[in-house]
Amino acid sequence: MASRSLVGAKLALKLLKKGAEANLYLGEFMGSPAVFKRRIRKPYRVKELDWKIRESRTVHEAKLLHEAKVAGVPTPLVYFVDHQRTELVLQYVEGLRLKDFLERNMGAEEVERKCFQLGIYIGRLHSHGLIHGDLTTSNIILPPEGRLVFVDFGLGFHSESVEDRGVDLHLLKQVFESHHLRWAKKCVEAVFEGYRNTVGEAEAQKVWRKMKEIEARGRYVPPEARLQA
């Protein structure tokens, strides 16, 4: 319990961001700046469901953040896991979210380079049997120097299936196409380039085809587009 009160003692927390899943607070953990990611109770969920979701995602995320590192994908360090509070204490990663980066006036080359690297990292996760499960541009952080950092593995899981890999990439493509209209095409291409570089041509083609198939399952995709899939 000592460590619990240790965490509890640092409650001078500043709300950084109200996410969909959790609130992020900025604080300090044993002298280092830290992010307290607290999965708060959602009033819209019935109690039983709410607890189940919060608990399983918290524990899961801690594990996956570590496994991603083993796969060669930078993620924040996990300082502490607090079951009762459904809270993770994480290393604070300074930088710009990919989402904000893309909304700024960036050069095409710069965008391509980042997306290429993003593709490499996704490839690494997949090659190690990991699925991120929530690949969106607000879950990728660009520190001022160095490499991209992946955060938010709450929906992540283990799988080697082409279907799950395809869904992972499909989600990211959807975000580019619904929100980053200007860069969508370039980003998707560069991500896939990076992905291909890591997993190899044959596997990349398989996942790409599956992704197109998943896309075609969406509502009211016209027959012409289905044939391409």
Partner: protein
């Protein structure tokens, strides 16, 4: 374009699925009439496209006449005729399109194609006053979280398989509730207490309901659970996934309005949940009024009028229906 004392009136025809609806609206956003007849499949069955189209074809003269009469307008006063060009069931769409073409050709006014889902969104925006909402559209045909950007409604999240309306309807049918069974499932659910463990699937910003349906139907067939508890658990599980998708979109896009529309928007439990999501992100919550949540002529007439004012029209030769027509492929020239 005919202008009658400065008044622009559009007649809209809805016929994507079980509803044949006709409505007249004017350019001040007044719904002058909104008439419909709804095809009801036998208990335990879904919509049979041919039967439904036959129903529409028989209903059409009556409904058109009634819509004109209630609005107090003559056909000559119409400025445009709009129709639901898609997406939907082919035979049903063709029936509505045929009526619309005949009217437009006879009256010599523009024929305006309308996307059914855009209709749900625009009518809800008209009735609630929402201006730039994150929209959750839930019906038998759609389960989509969408927002407007760059001239189109962009799909931020959606179902990866069946829709929410579909889920509730098919489960209800299996339980021998009358179809469309959303309201019956809701009534049963309100008496449920015990949460049965069913798969809750959230894939990033998307949801997936087919596994949930299979699991729920399996539990139903196995027996041992109260139907009330199953309906309750089905709703809670499905709505929780959707509420999370909506919340993700709200947090990501930082919109200040959340709009709920479509047939399933009439569900009180879903309304409560999404209202709580909106409150948590300090967004204003809007929900389409119940009488305009389901399919109706007004959604087509109003959207048709907005499109008509921007000069959108289609020649009869090119007015083929589009049973598959994605929301994010439709240009929306009247929104900025």
């Amino acid at each position: 374009m005919k202008l009658n004392r400065g008044e622009i009136i559009c007649l809209g025809i809805e016929s994507t699925a079980h509803t044949f609806g006709v409505s007249l609206v004017d350019s001040r956003g007044r719904i002058l009439s909104d008439e419909k007849k709804v095809y009801a499949p036998p208990v335990g069955k879904g919509i049979h496209p041919r039967e439904s189209a036959q129903h529409h074809s028989q209903a059409s003269p009556l409904v058109v006449r009634e819509a004109l009469r209630k609005a107090g307008k003559t056909p000559e006063e119409l400025s445009a005729v709009a129709f639901s060009q898609g997406p939907g069931l082919g035979p049903c769409l063709r029936t509505g399109a045929t009526v619309a073409r005949a009217l437009a050709a006879y009256l010599d006014v523009p024929l305006v194609p309308v996307h059914h889902a855009v209709g749900h969104i625009e009518l809800a925006a008209l009735k609630t006053g929402a201006s730039d909402p994150l929209t959750v559209l839930v019906s038998g045909g759609h389960t989509t979280v969408t927002s407007f950007a760059g001239g189109r409604w962009r799909v931020f999240g959606e179902t990866e398989d069946i829709t929410l309306g579909n889920l509730l309807d098919v489960f209800g049918r299996e339980a021998r509730l009358p179809s469309p069974s959303g309201p019956a499932v809701e009534a049963k659910a309100s008496e449920g207490k015990k949460l049965v463990d069913l798969p809750l699937v959230v894939k990033g910003n998307n949801v997936s309901y087919s596994g949930l349906l299979t699991a729920a139907v399996r539990r139903l067939k196995k027996g041992g659970d109260k139907l009330e508890d199953l309906c309750y658990s089905l709703q809670e599980t499905a709505f929780t996934a959707l509420a999370e998708a909506a919340e993700r979109a709200l947090a990501f896009l930082e919109k200040k309005e959340l709009l709920l529309t479509g047939g399933v928007a009439a569900n009180k439990r879903l309304q409560t949940m999404l209202k709580q999501v909106a409150e948590e992100h300090k967004a204003k919550f809007y929900v389409v009024p119940r009488e305009y949540s389901g399919d109706c002529g007004a959604q087509i007439a109003w959207t048709g009028l907005l499109a008509h004012l921007q000069g959108v029209k289609v020649s009869i030769e090119r007015s083929l229906v589009k049973p598959r027509w994605r929301l994010d492929s439709v240009p929306i020239p009247w929104r900025r």
